[in-house]
């Protein structure tokens, strides 16, 4: 594939990766003159139309996600049988490789990477996209150590494929949730579980559940409780153990409700730790928060680079503290001097001095309000006399109404108190999920169109359930749940009931030959079948026995099918049509058996043997040429396919190097 140019635009330069479903190439985009990564779907999927449709749909949906911690998708295309996705080229390694190179990561770094991944998922989940295959192999680390998540939605597309594949022995199963192992319903919380496993691996350098085969790994995800990460690496704080174990709860309801909630806990943990570490310094004048991680993570900043910057900030903080102390001493000195001449200038200077001596307003650090009810946030702001503007309300799919989802400035920044201070706190508050109406006009519509409309236009989570319906044609929508016309929250699940057509069971046609009309009628009624035409037609009463029937006994048919009956004595058709039966009727209608041609051991042949085979059918058939081939001696015994008719003798006539060798009879029972 290297050297190929796709659609006259993407020049494949080098294969840089290979996964279960696709190969990845580094490529040059000829139009925009930049490097891109081109993901090319593997051969086995290119004939599976349903899968391809789904694959492209998921890729387009993922392309709408723009986030610094998500690998951007630029283009989705196909050229002939090559189906590909063009993505941002990342010069870096996977997180799996990163862990392999570095071993267990310091817990602070692991937390920051997890927060970056969760930030990417938060964005995706808000757009109704579940990743379903979060694992270190799908998280790329750029050369600046920015984590970037790739392959959104691909796992879902893969699950629709009917192609038999060898189970993936190293990848996804180590990270997939119990509900995925069971084949159950997956949602945002399945991604959170996988982040928990990934975080476990970052902290300890090992996966929580391992075994020599994927089925045992899946079983452990379903049944076994993970051990605490701190069992493997002792300096992991208890809070971190708790976060990992909560993300990895077997029951979805016990996990974090959202990616945002897990970010908040990781953030708190990191900050708590930092305050402890610096508790001997009273940090009144922090110019920038030590742990304004949330801002950095949500903005997708890099992880390693920031640690370096942090040290610089601390130095700056210390020097500004020093200058404040000097200023304070000066003010005090002036105060004392002025105080000394207080008696002389009593009335005039008192106010001035008072103003100077009065406690000066000092900046106050803004705490994190994310996740708190807005009233509580405002109460805290009032108590601290911090200025704030009217909260801004926004729809949010997962966070409940009235809860703060974002704030400016971020936690850790210090601002001046007082209503008239310039920097005011801005709270962004959830007004709950956006509401939409399920359309009224979708009964009888094609279910696939409705599924796409609900998902892409209304941002709902459609789930299709099939059921029988006498009223609605197959493949059309019967009803929805909640019902059509009702108002529902964006992102909520809507069940589309797709019709399977009327419910008719399959029954096997019984053997009616030799039975009387009454017996046949009873037999048919008991199976919910009906009597069809009766032959011969002109007969008065059907006193005889049935000699034939249509369809034949053993045929599976839907209920209520009419069975034609043929009564004896007259010129009714006889049973069995004799065509196309026999051993090995393949899709081309031919009938064949395999026989082996042996090299007679009593004769000498050269290294190669010219083999010619004729055959005859029946006792008086003409010799028909079957095949001729030149073979090496080692190719014997040589298999050939012999066309046969069951019940009729076929004779093979074998010639080697132009001489008759032997005849062989092939006979297949009818």
């Amino acid at each position: 594939m290297t050297g190929k140019v796709l659609n006259n635009r993407y020049e494949l330069v080098e294969k840089i990766g290979s996964g279960g479903m696709a190969d990845v190439y580094k490529a040059k985009c000829r139009v925009l003159k930049r490097w891109v990564a081109v993901k090319i779907l593997k051969d086995e999927f290119v004939n599976d139309e349903e899968f391809l449709e789904r694959f492209e749909r998921e890729a387009y949906a993922a392309a709408s996600l723009s986030h610094p911690n998500i690998v951007s998708i630029y283009d989705v295309g196909r050229e002939g049988n090559i189906h590909y996705i063009v993505m941002e080229y990342i010069d870096g390694i996977t997180l799996k490789e990163y862990i392999r190179q570095n071993g267990a990561l310091p817990w602070q770094e692991a937390a920051e990477i997890a927060m970056a991944v969760l930030s990417a998922l938060h964005k995706a989940h808000r757009h109704g996209i579940i990743h379903r295959d979060i694992k270190p192999q799908n998280i790329l680390m750029t050369s600046d150590n920015v984590p970037k998540v790739t392959d959104f939605g691909i796992a879902r597309a893969a699950s629709t494929s009917t192609i038999t594949r060898k189970v993936d022995t190293v990848g996804s199963v180590h990270y997939s949730s119990p509900e995925q192992a069971r084949g159950g319903y997956t949602d945002e919380k399945s991604d959170i579980y996988s982040v928990g496993v990934t975080l476990f691996e970052m902290l300890t350098g090992r996966v929580p559940f391992d075994a020599d085969n994927p089925v045992s790994v899946a079983l452990k995800h379903i049944e076994e409780e993970p051990v605490k990460p701190s069992r493997f690496v002792t300096d992991i704080p208890e809070g971190m153990d708790k976060i990992v174990l909560r993300a990895m709860k077997k029951s979805k309801t016990e996990r974090y409700d959202s990616a945002l909630q897990m970010i908040a806990e990781l953030d708190h943990l990191k900050k708590g730790e930092n305050i402890e570490a610096n508790s001997n310094e009273i940090d009144l004048f922090a110019t920038k928060a030590i742990g304004s991680l949330e801002e950095d993570v949500l903005a997708g900043k890099n992880v390693r680079g920031k640690n370096k910057g942090k040290n610089k900030e601390k130095t700056e903080k210390r020097s500004s503290k020093k200058s404040f102390l000097i200023a304070f001493v000066y003010i005090l000195l002036i105060g004392i001097i002025v105080g000394g001449i207080w008696l002389a200038y009593d009335k005039i200077v008192r106010d001035v001095v008072g103003a100077i001596l009065a406690p000066k307003k000092q900046p106050v650090e803004v705490i994190s309000y994310i996740g708190l009810p807005v009233e509580e946030a405002i109460r805290d702001l009032e108590e601290k006399n911090l200025p704030y503007v009217e909260p801004i309300y926004e729809y949010h799919d997962t966070v409940a109404e009235g809860i703060v989802i974002d704030q400016k400035p971020p936690a850790g920044i210090s601002i001046m108190p007082g209503k008239d201070a310039i920097t005011k706190v801005e709270l962004i508050v959830s007004k709950g999920a956006e509401k939409v109406q399920i359309p009224n006009d979708i009964k009888f519509a094609d279910y696939l169109e409705v599924e796409i409309r609900l998902r892409d236009d209304l941002k709902l989570k459609p789930k299709v359930v099939a059921e029988y319906s006498d009223e609605v044609a197959e493949g059309r929508v019967i009803r929805t749940e909640p019902e059509m016309g009702s108002t529902v929250a964006v992102g909520s699940e809507v069940i589309i009931y797709r019709s399977l057509g009327p419910e008719l069971k399959y029954v096997i046609v019984p053997d009616l030959t030799g039975k009387t009309m009454d017996e046949a009628r009873q037999e048919l009624l008991s199976r919910n079948l009906t009597i069809g035409k009766i032959f011969p037609e002109d007969r008065e009463g059907y006193k005889g026995k049935i000699i034939n029937q249509e369809p034949k006994a053993g045929t599976p048919v839907k209920e209520l099918t009419a069975i034609n009956l043929y009564f004896g004595d007259e010129d009714a058709p006889s049973g069995g049509d004799g065509s196309g039966t026999g051993i090995g009727t393949d899709s081309t209608g031919g009938t064949r058996v395999t026989r082996y041609i042996y090299l007679p051991s009593n004769k000498n042949f050269g290294d190669t043997v010219e083999l010619v085979v004729y055959y005859t059918t029946g006792d008086a058939g003409n010799e028909i040429f079957l095949m001729g081939i030149t073979l090496n001696k080692s190719d014997f015994p040589h298999s050939i396919q012999v066309p046969v008719t069951p019940g009729v003798k076929t004779t093979l006539i074998v010639y080697m190097d132009g001489e008759f060798q032997y005849e062989e009879e092939v006979f297949i029972q009818r």
Partner: protein, 245 residues
Amino acid sequence: MKYAAISDKGIIREQNEDFWNIILDINGNPQAFIVADGMGGHKAGDVASKMAVESISKSISCYLEKNKDGDGTNEKFLREAINKANEVIFQYAMENLDGSNIGTTLTAGLLCNGKLTIAHIGDSSFYLIRNETIVKLTKDHSFVGELVDKGILDQEEARVHPLRNQITRALGYEEEVQIDFYSLDVMPNDIYLFCTDGLTMKLSSDELLSMLKEEKDLNIILKNMVALANERGGDDNITAIVVKI
């Protein structure tokens, strides 16, 4: 003994990647039965199944020529034949397919000295029908099949599981392959069914049993089974061999 076979590409797939063979002795009596369901991409999907059937048929044919009635070491012989096929396929993929792997399921039965020896890899199946009951003797080497064995999933959950098509063992996929063996004494009126998952994904064992009971002509039975599997979606190749003692 009566027997019949059928192989159909279904109604969705463009090609038939299943292969089968019935090996007859010099008198035209069947001695071995093989079904194989290949995997490995649209160019090579049928390569592994074809190579497996050819290689193993050839080995069996040579073996029967030398040991007219088998010599009681059928399992040992089958193991060697299958290991050889594994090597041939694995080598072929290494040399010709740019490192991408191919593989196939395999369910084969060798009939010798009143015994039927079954060798099995993957998610094709062997069913024994005796005394009006049907038993699936082989275990599916698939992700969902093994979870069913462990009692985590039931048959219905397995049939709709997103990973239902992932098999845990395949012939020719890796350097070595693990083979399951089963052996049974041949009894009068036994019916044996070898088939690929194109059939078992669509028809329950109860349905298979009632279709085998209702009709005598084996070819008609197989045609009906294929017709029903196709009516229920036909999204995979369907292959079956039925043998009546």
